[in-house]
Symmetry: C2
Subunit: 262 residues, 2 copies
């Protein structure tokens, strides 16, 4: 099976033009089949502040009112998505921006509101892998933002880490999928304030132990759980790394933290 690299670009990377360019250059140089996935939460928070639209997060997930959904749709599907597509075009690559609504490629279900009402938040129920296959077979890079669509045609806000993992799982049937979470730190760190404390590999057993002994930052837990689920469903490799190190991933040693089931 052919390799497919699914890259989630997150955190500060999206807002830093230079880092983003470094990432896109690395992708251009690698000449591999790639799907990019992104959200853009920080930009939404900034815009919401300027527009006096109050934001509330519960366990790292954004409560999404109708107004906030508009902001997310603007920022994820508009501003960030088109800037990445244009950035790839500047590197002489051909890209297509996709939300889950486009070609109905990522269908979600509005999250049940009985415990916590997250508002317009969707959990993915179906990824149409043929959409992605058709593009990557023509060397077109899908750039996927984290807006999905319900069966009824309603836009919903979705977690970008989960979206990347769901695409990875769906694509594993026909590709050897490598799922890379790129962000601003070197990987999973023993001490979040010390970039040299990188943990090069985390197994499921390590993870359970680290959770119990509270050696792992709260924000990292859902990301790691998502990565483990992807591996469990047939994804070949899952890795958390610094965006600037993406070039190294393609050319030399494997940077960041390797997530492994065993």
């Amino acid at each position: 099976m052919e390799d497919l690299i699914i890259i989630k670009i997150g955190g500060e990377t999206i807002n830093n033009k230079e880092t983003l360019k470094t990432c896109l250059r690395a992708i251009a140089a690698a000449r591999q089949k790639v799907i990019l996935v992104h959200g853009g939460g920080k930009k939404v928070t900034e815009l919401a502040q300027k527009l006096f639209i109050p934001q509330q997060m519960v366990e790292g997930r954004r409560i999404t009112s109708a107004e906030t959904l508009e902001l997310c749709t603007m920022v994820y599907a508009g501003l960030i998505n088109k800037n990445i597509v244009a950035g790839l075009s500047a590197e002489k690559l051909v890209a297509i921006g996709l939300s889950g609504a486009d070609l109905n490629c990522i269908v979600s279900k509005k999250r049940d509101a009985s415990v916590i009402n997250y508002g317009f938040v969707g959990d993915i129920v179906k990824v149409d892998e043929t959409v992605f296959e058709n593009f990557i077979d023509k060397n077109i890079i899908p750039v996927v933002n984290s807006i999905s669509i319900s069966e009824e045609g309603e836009l919903l806000n979705t977690n970008a880490d989960v979206m990347a993992a769901e695409i990875a799982k769906a694509m594993s049937a026909n590709y050897k999928v490598h799922l890379l979470y790129c962000f601003e730190k070197n990987g999973v760190l023993k001490d979040i304030t010390d970039e040299s404390s990188l943990i090069p590999e985390i197994s499921k057993t390590d993870f359970t132990h680290m959770k119990e002994t509270k050696q792992i930052a709260d924000g990292m837990i859902p990301k790691l759980q998502t990565a483990f689920r992807a591996l469990y469903h047939g994804v070949e490799e899952a890795r958390i790394l610094k965006s600037d190190a993406l070039e190294n991933y393609f050319t030399s040693e494997k940077p960041g933290t390797n997530i492994s089931l065993h």
Copy 2:
């Protein structure tokens, strides 16, 4: 040759959920090959006001600073584009949102700044008609927003009326193209305050005469000029009509103002 209907949805239509739904329903019922084109200037103006980003228009065209380009990209390619795509999905149609940057399908050149500096405004130099053909041949509706891309990979703001006409011209090689400009009025009116003063047909000669005698509203002149140019380059039909009348266009008499070369 097969018919292809290119519909520019403009003016108030985009901001009025009910009118937009009526339009999308009419498209679903028509079961014809369709390309939708939209801008969203009014929403950009609203957002710019809330964010205290000053806006300046010259001859109906927006001076586009880097900040304003961000707003346009958010509103056109994000908010409005995905809402239309989702609205079509709700009507059980399959749609794909496209800016000119996606698949590099609409390439423009930054407007020369020597007379008036419009900023990040692009004039279209190339429409890749194969992109649109590939989608419409699979009964997928392209929903095109008015952000284009330069050869260098820079996003540029483009007039949506012109974009619709350029796509129409490019598609005329292989389709019988009908170019419809939908907006909030009945068509071209003798008296802009009187909806019953509709002019059912305007020829090139009529237009020249009406311009000279100032019988035509300033805002309508570039739209009509664009329509005439499209007809001159092989477009079969050009028409300006009320968005609510789109259903009538498909089912019965032809509403609005027919623009004709002769």
